[in-house]
C-alpha cells in the first residue's frame, strides 16, 4: 500500500539528513554544517574570510595558488581550504604566524615571477593580486625579480593577453571549459615555463574554438586578460557574474 509505506521512508530520510550534519571548529567557532562542502565554503558561510586567488564559487577548485592554506589540528601539513572537504571533529585555524608568513611569501613569489608594474597596468585599482598585497602588508619582495621576456598576444580583435601579469590561477581555463564550453585555454609548458595558451599554443585571434564571449577576461583576477584599448587602471572586472550564470543554469554555486 503506497500511502503506508511512503510515510516511514520519509521519516528515515529526514533523520539521516540530520544525522549526516557534522560539527567542526574554525578559528575556535563551533559550526554545524553538511558534509561535502569545502572548508573554504563553510568558512565563508560563517563569515570567516580566507584569502584566495584561484578559487571561484561555481567553478571547480584546483588549489593552484595556495593562498587559502589553513592548519588542521593533528596534521603537520598545511591544507588548501578550497579543495579540502570538511570532516566531523575537524579543528581548523585560518590565521597564524606560520600561515601569514607563507601567504606573504606566495605573493612575493608571484610578484617576482613575472613583470608586475602596477603603475602602468590596465587593472591597477581593480586587481586581486594588488589588493591582497595591500591587505597582507606585502610591501616588497625579498627575492630577485626574474623579469622574464614574455610577448604580449594582441591578436584578438577585442581582447589582449599579457603573460607578464599572469599568476597561472587557471580561472580562465576553467571558466572557458566549465561555463562557456569552448575549451580554448590550457596551461602549456612545464614548471617555471608554464603559460596560458590558446588552442594548440596559437595566437588567440586565430583561435577556432574561442567564441569571444569574454568570460575569461572578466574572471581573470589580474591585468593578464583585458579588453583592448584600455589604458592604465581602466580595466574593471565583473568576476562574480559566473555565480549568477551558474545559478541561472541551476548548478550548485
Amino acid at each position: 500500500m503506497p500511502r503506508v509505506s511512503a510515510a516511514p521512508a520519509q521519516k528515515t530520510e529526514r533523520r539521516s539528513a540530520l544525522e549526516q550534519r557534522i560539527m567542526l571548529r574554525i578559528d575556535g567557532e563551533y559550526i554545524t554544517t553538511d558534509p561535502g562542502k569545502t572548508i573554504l565554503e563553510v568558512a565563508r558561510e560563517t563569515g570567516i574570510d580566507i584569502p584566495t586567488l584561484c578559487a571561484v564559487p561555481g567553478l571547480t577548485s584546483v588549489g593552484a595558488c595556495r593562498l587559502c592554506l589553513i592548519e588542521v589540528k593533528g596534521n603537520q601539513r598545511l591544507l588548501p581550504a578550497c579543495t579540502v572537504k570538511v570532516e566531523g571533529g575537524m579543528v581548523v585555524s585560518t590565521r597564524s604566524e606560520r600561515l601569514d608568513k607563507y601567504r606573504r611569501m606566495i605573493l612575493e613569489l608571484l610578484f617576482t615571477e613575472r613583470n608586475h608594474v602596477c603603475a602602468v597596468c590596465v587593472s591597477s585599482g581593480a586587481c586581486e593580486l594588488q589588493d591582497l598585497a595591500t591587505q597582507l602588508g606585502v610591501t616588497h619582495a625579498p627575492f630577485e625579480f626574474r623579469n622574464p621576456n614574455l610577448p604580449v598576444d594582441a591578436s584578438h580583435e577585442r581582447f589582449i593577453e599579457d603573460p607578464n601579469r599572469c599568476i597561472l590561477c587557471t580561472r580562465c581555463v576553467r571558466i572557458c571549459r566549465e561555463v562557456e564550453g569552448a575549451n580554448t585555454w590550457e596551461v602549456g609548458g612545464r614548471g617555471i615555463n608554464s603559460n596560458i595558451i590558446a588552442d594548440l599554443a596559437e595566437p588567440w585571434g586565430g583561435s577556432l574554438s574561442c567564441t569571444s564571449c569574454g568570460k575569461c577576461v572578466q574572471i581573470c583576477p589580474t591585468g593578464a586578460l583585458a579588453v583592448k584599448g584600455r589604458a592604465t587602471g581602466e580595466m574593471t572586472k565583473r568576476a562574480w557574474n559566473v555565480t549568477d550564470l551558474n545559478r541561472m543554469r541551476g548548478a550548485r554555486t
Binding site: N115, H116, V117, S124, Q130, T139, H140, N147, N149, G233
Partner: protein, 176 residues
Amino acid sequence: MSKTRLATIWLDGCSGCHMSLLDTDERLLDLVAKADIVYSPIVDTKEFPENVDVTLVEGAISSDEDLEKIIEVRSKTRVLIAFGDCGVSGNVPAMRNPHGPSPILRRVYIENADVQQQVPGEVVPALLDRVRPIQDVVPVDLHLPGCPPSANLIYDALTELLNGKAVDLAGRFRFG
C-alpha cells in the same frame, strides 16, 4: 633632544615621489619641526653628509652612478627607506630588464635621434645591465610603496617613524 637628521635622494625615478612629499603641503612644517632636512634635491647641499638618521631614497638602481650613491647613502644612514615603487621593485625603470640596456640606448640615441647619432660615453652615467630594486644592493629598513606613495601615507609613516613608533603599512599602501 636634538632634531632628527633627514635626507632625501633621487636615483632612477621620475621625481614623482618627491612631488608627493611636497604634496604634504603645510604639514611639511610639522615635519621640519621634528627633523632637519640635511640633504635633498630641494635643499642646496652638494655632498651627502655623515650621520644621517633617516634617508628617503626615490628610484631604482640603474646606472653606475646610482650604485655609487646608494652605497655611500647606506654607509651614512641609520634608517634607509625605499621611497616609492621604483626603489621597492624596480617598477617602470626595470621594464627594460627583459631586453637589457643596448636596445634601449640604440632606440633613444640612434634610431630616434636626428643629429649626432651616437650612444654617449661620457658625462651621462653608464647604465647597468639590470635595473635593481634598492634592497638587491643594500639593506633597506622600510619599504614605502606607491607610484607615488600618497602624501598622507608619506606624512603618516614619517611621523610614526620620527615619534619612534613601529611602522606597519598593512592595509595602508597600494602598489602603483
